[in-house]
């Protein structure tokens, strides 16, 4: 099997603009786990292209392969077969160190369980990705405060996660994902641990982020959350069942 190393303009799926490469391009991606002697096919050949500025919800019941897809998109896992270009970079050509470096620059993660670092202020949590990128202390602070302002938590910068409500924690997490200016915001069940009011708050933030021109990919199993996205991709048994784009409002 020959592996194209360079990014190629996708043959199918119509004309990709030369000016902007897709943020995500998956082609025939499969993932197989071996559990004992049994092979589990989590993904059975998924092809998906997400253009810049898209707001995509990936839906599916548990076991549909959506978590596996999310891990592969987030570079937390590698596909068993197929190709994946993240913002024009073929991730299969990268070694582990380069992979985590590239992905952490290009992807901002938002997790279901917030995953803020305990006993660390909201500001410090948001500063952290910048610190790992080597941004200086002053610039870091300015950018982190701006990101917190953007999620409406500028006045909560000094609070530690345990002093914040679930919705607030998730908004801090979104600010942390935004602060590095990534090509993609990847959210895994971002409202899964929140009540409906907090969910609305967080989804407002995602709407705002999207309107500001960012690309958002969100994994969810809630219809009403998915309904706020512009495009819904449904998975079942490791394959794409449907891919519908809502008309632009």
């Amino acid at each position: 099997m020959s592996t194209p190393v360079m990014h190629a303009v996708p043959a199918e799926g119509g004309a990709a603009p030369d000016t902007a490469v897709p943020v995500i391009e998956l082609r025939d991606v499969a993932k197989t786990y071996a559990i004992g002697d049994i092979e589990v096919h989590a993904l059975r050949g998924v092809s998906l292209t997400v253009e810049r500025g898209d707001f995509v919800a990936i839906m599916g019941a548990s076991g549909s392969g959506k978590s596996t897809l999310m891990n592969i998109i987030g570079c937390l896992d590698v596909p068993s077969r197929g190709w994946y270009w993240l913002d024009g970079v073929d991730v299969r050509t990268l070694d582990e160190g380069a992979l985590s470096r590239v992905c952490s620059r290009k992807i901002g993660f938002v997790f279901q369980s917030f995953n803020l670092i305990a006993r660390t202020s909201a500001l410090a949590n948001v500063e952290l990705p910048l610190a790992y990128m080597g941004v200086g202390a002053r610039e870091r602070r300015v950018r982190a405060l701006a990101a917190l302002d953007a999620v409406g938590l500028g006045d909560r910068a000094a609070h530690v996660p345990s002093e914040l409500s679930g919705g607030q924690q998730q908004r801090v997490a979104v600010a942390r994902a935004l602060v590095t200016n990534p090509a993609l915001i990847l959210a895994d069940e971002p409202t899964g641990n929140l009540d409906s009011v907090a969910s609305d708050d967080v989804m407002e933030i995602f709407d705002t982020v999207h309107r500001a021109g960012r690309t958002v990919v969100m994994i969810t199993h809630e219809e009403e959350i998915a309904a706020r996205a512009h495009r819904v991709v449904r998975l079942r048994d490791g394959e794409i069942l449907s891919d519908t784009t809502r008309d632009a409002p």
Binding site: S100, R101, L116, I117, L128, Y132, A137, R176, T180
Partner: protein
């Protein structure tokens, strides 16, 4: 990631579990303090031994007539003629031409007696000798006068007594000078009181009475041609080996034999000092080694707790990696935490060691050896790096997907 950021994260990690960190630090603290204190005890005791030998005089040779083992040299066994140390030997050794490095030679006729004064008794060593003996043996006269050459010539029954003898025989208000004390069956007049010298090894150097050898031979040991010992005072400690060579060659020619077959034992204080010093150095090294083991155990404690910390914070590591922490940053964070633990333990251990070394331990006043502080501190840091590296590397090598799944 600046050093300040790393440091803040590491300190945060330590502070987040104060009791556990404190116990870990305690392990290193005990190790470092043990090294500092035990090396100080070793150094202190070796200094005490050196001081005791110095009290005996570091520039003297003791020539003994019981010379079958001839100064460490094996004799052939064909030596059947008895050789003795006589007044002629003394004169020969005092010859400034043949023995330029010898200052004085004092014959010693020594015996142990019961001294009595006014109902009080004590056991004293009576050293019958010449006036030069006092200088050779580092005795000085605190009150009264020393014995003189005239006393020796006159067979005068006069003594200089040591502090122990004085305090045992006389009450505090009494002036011993001029009093007559009974030594065994003979009576001697005290003419001088010796300054305190302290104990030297097993012997109390102050439980002595020094008298002219002529008088001691007359009434205590009985007259004989020979002396049990000669005390030879060398010009200085550094030329003592030269003096020894001169003494041996003079005695050899006087007795018609070779230096190798010399029927006397010549004990060199300098050699004794060297031997004692090397013995106590071995002792110090042994103590330090024992202490180092406890430092090692402290280090294992650091490793153990770091492994627990890494396991406990697996999820945090996953988050950090997912938001872009490179492997090096995670490694640095945990390594710094381990080093910080051992650093705190090291500093506290040195302080504890300094305090602990202020107390006398089993009669030895510990003497802080600066190298032990530097060494134990360096080892503490090295222990932190060494035992911190494995857990830190384990943390840094975690895959974010596994780490994030970890509950």
């Amino acid at each position: 990631m600046s050093w300040r950021d790393n440091l803040r994260i590491a300190v945060g990690g330590i502070v987040s579990n104060k009791l556990r960190s404190a116990l870990t630090v305690l392990g290193v603290l005990i190790g470092v303090a043990a090294v500092v204190i035990l090396v100080a005890v070793g150094t202190g005791s070796s200094q005490a031994v050196a001081d005791q030998i110095a009290k005996l005089g570091t520039n003297t040779l003791t020539v003994s007539a019981t010379g079958r083992f001839g100064g460490g040299r094996s004799t052939t066994g064909t030596q059947s003629r008895t050789a003795s140390l006589t007044i002629a030997s003394v004169k020969a050794l005092e010859d400034p031409d043949n023995a330029p490095d010898v200052v004085s030679v004092s014959p010693v006729a020594s015996t142990s007696v019961t001294a009595t004064f006014d109902g009080a008794t004590t056991t004293a060593t009576v050293d019958g000798s010449t006036p030069s003996y006092l200088a050779a043996e580092n005795y000085s006269v605190a009150a009264g006068r020393a014995i003189t050459d005239k006393d020796v010539d006159d067979h005068a029954r006069v003594i200089d007594i040591g502090q122990t003898v004085a305090s045992e025989l006389f009450t505090s208000g009494q002036n011993p000078i001029g009093q007559t004390v009974q030594l065994g069956s003979a009576s001697f007049t005290v003419v001088g009181l010796l300054a305190a010298k302290g104990s030297s090894g097993l012997q109390d150097a102050d439980a002595v009475a020094i008298a002219p050898y002529t008088a001691v031979e007359d009434v205590l040991t009985g007259y004989s041609q020979s002396f049990s010992q000669l005390i030879v005072q060398g010009r200085s400690a550094s030329t003592l080996n030269l003096a020894q060579a001169e003494v041996e060659s003079i005695l050899a020619s006087a007795n018609d034999t070779t230096v190798a077959a010399l029927p006397f034992r010549v004990l060199n204080q300098q050699t004794l000092l060297t031997a004692a010093t090397s013995t106590s150095r071995t002792f110090t090294v042994l103590l330090a080694a024992v202490a180092a083991i406890s430092l090692l155990v402290g280090g294992i404690g650091v490793m153990n707790i770091m492994l627990v910390t890494v396991t406990e914070r697996t999820r945090e590591i996953g988050i950090r990696k997912a938001i872009g922490a490179p492997k090096g940053a995670i490694l640095t964070q945990f390594l710094l935490e381990a080093v910080l633990l051992s650093l705190i333990g090291g500093v506290a251990g040195i302080l504890a060691g300094l305090v602990g070394s202020r107390f006398r331990i089993d009669g030895v006043q510990p003497v802080i050896a600066p190298y032990s502080i530097v060494l134990s501190f360096a080892i503490a840091i090295a222990v932190g790096v060494f035992f911190g590296f494995y857990p830190a590397n384990r943390a840094a090598s975690l895959r974010p997907i596994d780490a994030l799944r970890y509950e």
